[in-house]
Each structure stands twice: as C-alpha cells, then as structure tokens.
Amino acid sequence: MSTSAPVDVLFVLFAAGAIATAYLVFRTDSMVRAAYWLLASFVGVGAILVLLKAEFVGLVLMLMMAGEMTIMAFVMVMFMMNPAGLNPMLMVHQHKTAIAAGVTSFLVLAGAALLTDFPNAPATQTSRATEELGTELLGESMLVFETAGAALLGTMVGAVAVASRRGRYGDAEEGSIEPPLQPDEEWAQASAHRTEEDEHEPSVHGGHS
C-alpha cells in the first residue's frame, strides 16, 4: 500500500491527534472534557479510515460518536462527583498494574504487527468502496446486518427495561411527587413523609416547598 505525501502528512497528524486525545481522556479532571477528548480520538480514527478510502465506515463512526459521547458527558454530569473538575482529583485503583498492562499490551501488539508478515493485497484506489459495501450489506451479508439490527433492537428493549422508572425496588420517582394544583390528601401525606425525611437529612434536600 503506497500513499501520496499529503496523505502521509495527514495520517501522521490524525494518528498523533488520536493517540494524544486518547491519553488526555484519563488525564483531565473535567468529565465533559474527558468525554469530548474521547470524541476527538474517535474523530481522528474516523479521519484515518477516510484516508484509507473507507469513507462510509469512517463517517458513520464520527456520526455515531457525537451522540454517544454527548450522552456519556450527560450521564457523568448526572451521576459522578465533581463533574466539572473544578477540584483536582485522581480516581484510580491498581494504578501501576494498569500502566504496566497498558504498556505491555502496546508492546506485544506493536511487536506482533511488526514481526508478522501480512499478505500484501492493497485495495485498488479506484474501487467504489461505498457502493460495494452497500451491495455487501444488503446482499451476501444481509443475515449479519439483520442480526446486528435485531441485536440493537434487543439492546433497546433491554436497556429500557433495566433503566426504566419502575423496578423491583419501586418507582424511581417516589419521594419527588409534584404538588397537584388542588391540594389533596395523598399529596399531603407524601409531603408530610418528605418533611420527616428532610429533618433526618437536612443537608440533602434544599429549601423545596
């Protein structure tokens, strides 16, 4: 596979960017920044895929990741402590083992890549990759494609079932019932119950009326 000089320059830029941003994901305190550094890493890889003439896969990777990473940032802000990273923190365990594992896996994989003789059969530069991929998706590999679709549908159902409000432990919104327009007994009871909780944990609930 031989490529022209501009493509090589772009490849070096995107590769360095993808690796650097992947590293920054774990070196920033701000959760939103971490999510978007990861997005930047995906964009770098997507751009390399476009350079490899796999336009469709590269662009779809970028397209998918914008939504996924925004959800990731969103979930982190919802659930994690100190999401803005205004105070520095280091939330890691088995740090040295993890570093060793990361470096070892890089060395082993890179060594395998350099030492193995892979067949040299580059894709022809004039090939209409997008069209061929479409024919493949809805032709020979249709079963795989449909299976992926069915798996995604199953995931959607499963994720909604797992995360839905009603679970084994009752309604997730219990304790945060909106006051009705007309005062009624049920709400008064819930409200009284809530005031009791407030007395036990005054720091958790603010001055809601």
Binding site: R33, Y36, F56, M62, L63, M69, F74, A84, A129
Partner: protein
C-alpha cells in the same frame, strides 16, 4: 468523480459563502422584524443595521463568568462555524463545480448536523452558569428528537438517486423535483431544520425565557461569532434543502449557481418568516411532536419514496 475546485479557490469560496450567507440571514432577519412590528421598511437601514451591530459587538469589552472552561467556551462558536462550512462544502455549486463531493456526502452532512449538539452543549456547559447549562440540556433533548427524522427525511431523496453523493441526488431530479415526488419531504425537512439550527419557533437552547440560554453569558466578539455561526448553520440547511428537494442547480434560463443561490434564499426566507410568525412551543411539546409525529411521518415518506422505485 466530478471535478473539484482547486484548494485555494475552495477555501476562498467557503469563506465567502459563509460571510455572505450570514449577512444575508441578518438582513432577512432585519426585514422580517421590521415587517412584523409594522414599522416602515427603510432599505438603507436594513442593509446597514447588521454591519452596525457587528461593529458594536466588536468594540464592546468581553465579559466572563466565574471559572468557565475558557478554551471550550471560546472554541464552541468556532466549532459551530466549522460545521456550517463542512455541511456547505458537500453541496454542489453548479453542475460540474463543487468544493467537495464525496461518495458518502450525505453521511458527512449528517455527521456535521449531529456535531451541532456537541457545539451547543459545550457552549452552554463551559460558561459555568445556570441559564446556559439549562439551555445545553434542553438542546440534548431537542437534538436526539430531531436527529432521526432529519436523517430519514434526507435519506429519502437518496433513494431515487441510488447514491449518497449530493450531486447525484440533484441529478436524479432532472425530470421531477423531489418536492413534488416526495410531498412530505420538504415540510418535515423545514421543521427539523428549524430545530437543528435552533431558530425561532424551536430555539430552545437559546430561548428568550432563559434570557438567551447558552448565549446569555457571552458578549462582544464571542456573541458576534456565535450569532454568525448560527446564521451559517441556517444557510447550510437551506442550501441542503435547495439541493435535495428543489433540484439544486437545475432550472431554465439562468446559470446553475444562480439557481442554487436563489433556491437557498427562498428557503431562508421561508425559515426566517416562519420564525417570526409561529409562536414558540415548549420543549416537551416539541420532543413529543418529533418522536410521535415527525418520526413516523418521515418513515412513511421513505416508504413511499421506496415504493415509487419498484
């Protein structure tokens, strides 16, 4: 593969299109505002007002909030403007003239639309202030609601063209424009593109009820950049609508590029006029509308587009 513009010419074209497009949007906004408020329309004022606003914003001092994510905050308008440029780049200017016309042009355009969410979220989040943050979260809800109808409604014109390249989509409309062939397409597209550009009836992240939402804390050159980028985004969706539904460069008598500009302006006029005539919905109403009405309608649209081909 079609001939591209040479790289320097392409860059100059993109910058020119973005600046001229934002100026056109500002002038149209001014005209619409004057007409709606029943003031007399003075043409010199209308054409100078955007420049005066820009000059005023450039000479103001910048304000800041307490500990914002300064880099992300400053770069969010740049990201939005860059996305407008990416989206505009795939749209052919004339039959054999385009800045970039990849085989997967539709996917590139859709990717640009989905990164609008990143730009708006970053813009609201990095200000480290309440109202921008609420605006940012509103836009996440809005973006997930409009994105799937947006993709599906733009995918339908790709069916008769049997290609994801925008120029093929335009060429396939030689006998019949998609606005006639797929009557549901353009109306749905206009609604979702108003949502994608968060312009007035659907301007939830930057709404007046949040004192400007994600842009409530920005001033001076930052505000000018954000407004310019939003205008560029509006041009980007209008140009796409003109190419995907109104036949792009095709038309009698006039040269092709002039037809592209005229059709883009027509869609801009429709979008801006509707932003001054329709009352703003509430965000939850819009989200329900998008998932319950627009998504099934766009599926029906794509079904009929496919059935016509059989």
């Amino acid at each position: 593969m079609r001939p591209y513009l040479s790289p320097p010419l392409a860059v100059i074209t993109m910058i020119g299109v973005l600046i001229a497009g934002s100026y056109a949007v500002a002038v149209l906004e001014e005209i619409a505002g004057t007409l709606v408020s029943r003031r007399p329309l003075r043409l010199t004022y209308v054409f100078w007002a955007p420049l005066a606003t820009a000059a005023l914003l450039l000479t103001q001092g910048r304000t800041s909030t307490e500990r914002p994510d300064a880099q992300a905050w400053a770069l969010a308008p740049a990201l939005l403007a860059g996305l407008a440029a990416v989206g505009l780049a795939v749209i052919p200017i004339d039959q054999n003239t385009s800045v970039a016309d990849p085989a997967a042009g539709f996917v590139l355009y859709s990717a640009a639309i989905s990164y609008v969410m990143v730009a708006v979220y970053l813009h609201g989040w990095s200000a480290n202030s309440t109202l921008p943050l609420i605006g940012a979260y509103r836009f996440i809800a809005q973006a997930f609601a409009f994105q799937i109808p947006f993709l599906l409604v733009l995918l339908a014109p790709a069916l008769p063209a049997e290609s994801l390249a925008i120029s093929d989509i335009v060429e396939a409309q030689e006998s019949l424009w998609n606005v006639v062939r797929q009557p549901l397409g353009l109306p749905i597209f206009l609604v979702v593109s108003a949502a994608a550009t968060f312009s007035l009836p659907l301007d939830f992240p930057d709404a007046a009820d949040l004192a400007g939402g994600t842009s409530s804390e920005v001033s001076a050159s930052h505000r000018l950049a954000w407004r310019g980028a939003r205008a560029g985004l509006l041009v980007m969706v209008a140009a796409m609508g003109a190419s995907a539904f109104l036949g792009g460069w095709q038309g009698p008598w006039l040269p092709g590029w002039l037809w592209v500009i005229l059709k883009t302006l027509l869609l801009l006029v429709i979008l801006i006029a509707s932003s001054h005539t329709f009352a703003r919905l509430r965000i939850e109403r819009f989200v329900v509308l998008a998932w319950v009405v627009l998504l099934p309608l766009s599926l029906v649209n794509i079904f009929f587009a496919g059935a016509l081909l059989l």
